[in-house]
Symmetry: C2
Subunit: 576 residues, 2 copies
């Protein structure tokens, strides 16, 4: 009926608008008729659900608490049992008992699942991996003896922590009071074959999980790291907004290989055509473009993908990785940039420590009793090491600064520790960086790893755009730059003052073997536009870049950066 | 002296750590010595400036207001003149008067500059484009007659709005009370040659500005759009955090060409080697990977670069563009996704309308008296059109829904308007989309353009992963999808429920001419992993993608998407 009426109405409308030219009066009629149609369309659709269905909610007529996820539910401590609660999620494990099944459900919002109790007769299709919608009553008993509200359920419940990782085993242990959902309605949203399920509710090595990148964030630790990444982005966005930096989108396809290292990926469209006029590459750093934007709006930042076609197979390198980069005009000296880096990381660590992902990574390992969980945590950096890292990031102390020359002197006194002899004029190797960070960054008083700034590297081993130091040591010319080093990872960030004077920049380009573009070469030489930035009002400026995935690795304790990235890309590997 | 002492200390330290193996006791000594070094290094550097220098600030001994930018300064209304204010920025224009120069300075934080007055003797090197640091006294007189505090300056000051765009002209007009800085100290931070300066303080066409992408955001409108982009990102980040979505970083280099349109850029490292094992491409959509993540943590979103090697030369297409994409597990129907899109865009428009970039774009055009500014605004969509767009986005009314079949019927009644005849089974053309949005979306009561949702497109013209509709019209099978259409731009967003059942997905792949991967093909077939997601607990889910640059174009009124992107990339064009 409704459909017919609507069609008639549309027919009438079509006749009305078939008139060859719309005069103003007619246009008004037309619009009025259209509104009539759309009102009716709306009336029809308004009958459908309008509100978003979150994965958990309390239903019923009274005003309900804002429960939207399993994490909310677990944090909620109602005084009595709650009769109508709905939870959507995935089954992590099923444990049999006489007449009932104890099932762990997760919706990904918390590292640990929530326990539900389902009558055997309702649980036939509930298997590890299944996606379900469950309705039931929520019992919440805290403390050793419980409050009796969930007694019938609790008499069967094993605590989440004392649970065996083996699926489908008979559960005979004595009860611990806990939170659980006593289910009266089961809806299977997506079935699962537990025999082929690649993500079992047991310990799996990081290496084996890397073979199933599309599924591995279904494990407790990997899903928590996904949430940590999200929290980190949100926190940084707030930080930079407060600091009056503008977030930008620098280009990904570029003409220039910023660092001149020749490790850029080429971009092609079709075999024979040159889609763009010249060869183009995936960006290796957003810095040059950020400088251009900083000269328009002062202070800018980005969190953008960056690419290196390095054939290195290390735990710290990826072919595709995220860089946090910031650039500021009107900066007086390097100290301001280092101060910003410390302020940013301190603010971030303080923020994250209040949020669930980081808290779970810290707290759950302290009270972990599940063998699978304990084994997974054992793959991360030690708890004590992680505590020192976080303490160092949050410290109110100013992080140590040491010049490159001092660092080399220092390293030479312990040269026998290293595979690569430290020498003035050579890059610091990863082993040098880690050593410096561990030894110079350790703060005994706070029992914390303070990240350290190594400054004033030799000009020839740093990029052409860096500003020369006011004074250099006898060994050679240095530039106003820093690397930020942390234990176990080495270089976490690097920054510099940029050469803002035209002729000095041109000299530095020559020194680095780069072709110096002429005044009219902005379109021809791939760096012409960058040099152009020095022609019309280029103030002192500087900035930094930070390896975002390395930062997450440092914060979470995953020793391999491939395990904090959803779909890692590196030499010979680009799955999915 | 300090250097020598430090070196001696380092020498002592090196001797201490030269011992072949560190026993615990020795390690403690070592750490203590290192702390001593780093304390001294810190003491030295603590003498330098520690606080970040913003582009504007009030100096002096008393506690000062939190002025950090020209925008802050312009919004600040102190009761009396303020003797010590520092402003860093770029010179937009210089106007001569007897004995003084009136100079407009911007730091990019506000669309309009701040006016400074400099004695002729101090102003010799101040030319359009120059970067300067200025110190002086701040006069703030509001109203026609001023308050007398800045009388000496005001007697010369022309209001910012009544100003001639011509540089270096003699200024003889009568004064208007205003805000200005009376400068007593000038520092040139970066000189400028005004004769070659490509960005003059006069009107320049969007086309001419596209030839200097690295400089064009120095114009008032382009810098404001950069800030609008930043505000938009910050607002969306808040919105999704509140909605319990996790922000993610899907991969950029991928194996699959999501939509199967064959318009992907290929990625290569070096001419002869296959860096990854198989051919790889730049992502055309993050959706497939987002689905994988949504099946671990429920609801995810991203704002990521996306690439299409389309050779189309339109005002709406780029080869590199940002897509806002979101994916939700446990979604009951398409209506939930459309509701989310409306809620998001309404929240965004409400947020932005409170922030400076959007407010300046709206407000400044209303009171614009500067001819250059007026001409620049005239390139944008009309003020009245923009007001309707914003009103529609912020409307509390539910946006209209119409099915594709209804849309085709509707379009066929006015087929003579179009170059492409509307026919069931063919894609809607841009001209169709724009027409539908303008006619069906116009809300007379609110005088607003409500975006409209067109739903249920034919299966054969949509992507293979879309869920079939519960019922389809006689013309053919349709899928549960929508396109969101707006006037002038057409498609702004698109979304769908995804096929979550394995065998139905496989059938759809066959229908779309795609090879169906086998159970063990996850590593071989480029879509094997995606099909895998259906094997173990795949609940109903769906999501959407929104063209972020198009959204900015719609919000700002720039008719060409190339003008809202810092460094646009499209066929035959990839500058910088």
């Amino acid at each position: 009926m409704l459909v017919i009426r609507r069609n008639n109405l549309l027919l009438g409308f079509y006749r009305a608008v078939l008139a060859p030219a719309a005069r103003p009066a007619r246009a008004m009629v037309r619009i009025a008729v259209v509104r009539d149609i759309t009102n009716r369309l709306q009336a029809r659709s308004a009958q459908r659900s309008w509100k978003r269905c979150y994965s958990a909610r309390v239903t019923g007529k009274e005003p309900q608490p804002p429960i939207r996820s399993v994490a909310d539910l677990k944090a909620w401590l109602p005084g009595a049992s709650v009769p109508l609660v709905e939870v959507c999620g995935w089954v992590r494990s099923v444990r049999k008992s006489s007449g009932v099944r104890f099932i762990d459900i997760t919706d990904g919002s918390s590292m640990r699942p929530v326990q539900v109790v389902v009558e055997k007769s309702l649980a036939a299709d509930i298997r590890p991996g299944t996606a379900v919608r469950l309705k039931g009553a929520w019992y919440n008993t805290v403390g050793k003896n419980g409050d009796g509200a969930g007694a019938s359920a609790n008499s069967h419940a094993a605590s989440a922590e004392a649970r065996s990782p083996i699926n489908d085993g008979e559960d005979t242990r004595t009860s611990q009071p806990t939170q659980e959902l006593k289910v009266h309605q089961v809806e299977i949203l997506g079935s699962s074959d537990p025999h082929t399920l690649p993500i079992q509710n047991k310990y799996q090595t990081p290496e084996s999980l890397r073979n199933v990148p599309h599924l591995r964030f279904r494990t407790p630790l990997n899903s928590t790291v996904l949430r940590l990444r999200s929290d980190t982005m949100a926190s940084l966005t707030r930080f930079f907004a407060n600091e009056q930096f503008y977030q930008t989108h620098p280009p990904i396809i570029t003409s220039s290989d910023c660092e001149g290292a020749g490790e850029a990926f080429a971009v092609k469209a079709g075999p024979n055509t040159e889609f763009f006029r010249d060869p183009k590459y995936l960006t290796v750093s957003a810095q040059l473009h950020l400088e251009a934007m900083a000269q328009a709006i002062g202070s800018v930042w980005t969190l953008s993908p960056t690419f290196r076609a390095e054939q290195s197979d290390t735990s710290r390198h990826l072919s595709e990785f995220y860089m946090l980069e910031a650039e500021m005009s009107f900066v007086k000296n390097l100290e301001e940039i280092m101060a910003l880096v410390q302020k940013m990381l301190r603010s971030l660590a303080q923020d994250l420590s209040q949020l669930s992902a980081a808290s779970e990574l810290r707290q759950n390992r302290l009270d972990s009793r599940d063998p699978a969980e304990k084994l997974a945590f054992a793959d991360l950096a030690e708890g004590e090491v992680l505590r020192r890292r976080w303490a160092g990031l949050q410290s109110q102390r100013k992080w140590p600064r040491i010049t490159y020359s001092q660092a080399i002197e220092h390293l030479q006194t312990v040269a026998e520790r290293f595979d690569h002899p430290p020498a003035w004029g050579s890059s610091l190797q990863s082993e040098h960086e880690k050593y410096l960070a561990e030894v110079l960054g350790y703060d005994e008083q706070e029992d914390a790893y303070l990240p350290i700034f190594v400054t004033q590297y030799p000009r020839q081993i740093k990029a052409f755009y860096m500003l020369g130091s006011a004074s250099s040591p006898a060994e050679g010319e240095t530039v106003d730059c820093f690397d930020l080093l942390v234990p176990d990872i080495g270089e976490l960030a690097g920054g510099s003052m940029r050469e803002n004077r035209l002729s000095e920049l041109e000299s530095s380009m020559q020194l680095h073997g780069l072709e110096v573009p002429g005044k009219r070469d902005a379109g021809k030489n791939s760096l012409g536009w960058y040099v152009d930035l020095r022609r019309w009002g280029c103030p002192p400026h500087g900035g930094f870049g930070l390896g975002f995935d390395r930062l997450l690795s440092y914060l979470s304790g995953f020793s391999n950066v491939r395990d904090v990235v959803p779909f890692p890309r590196h030499f010979q590997r680009c799955d999915c």
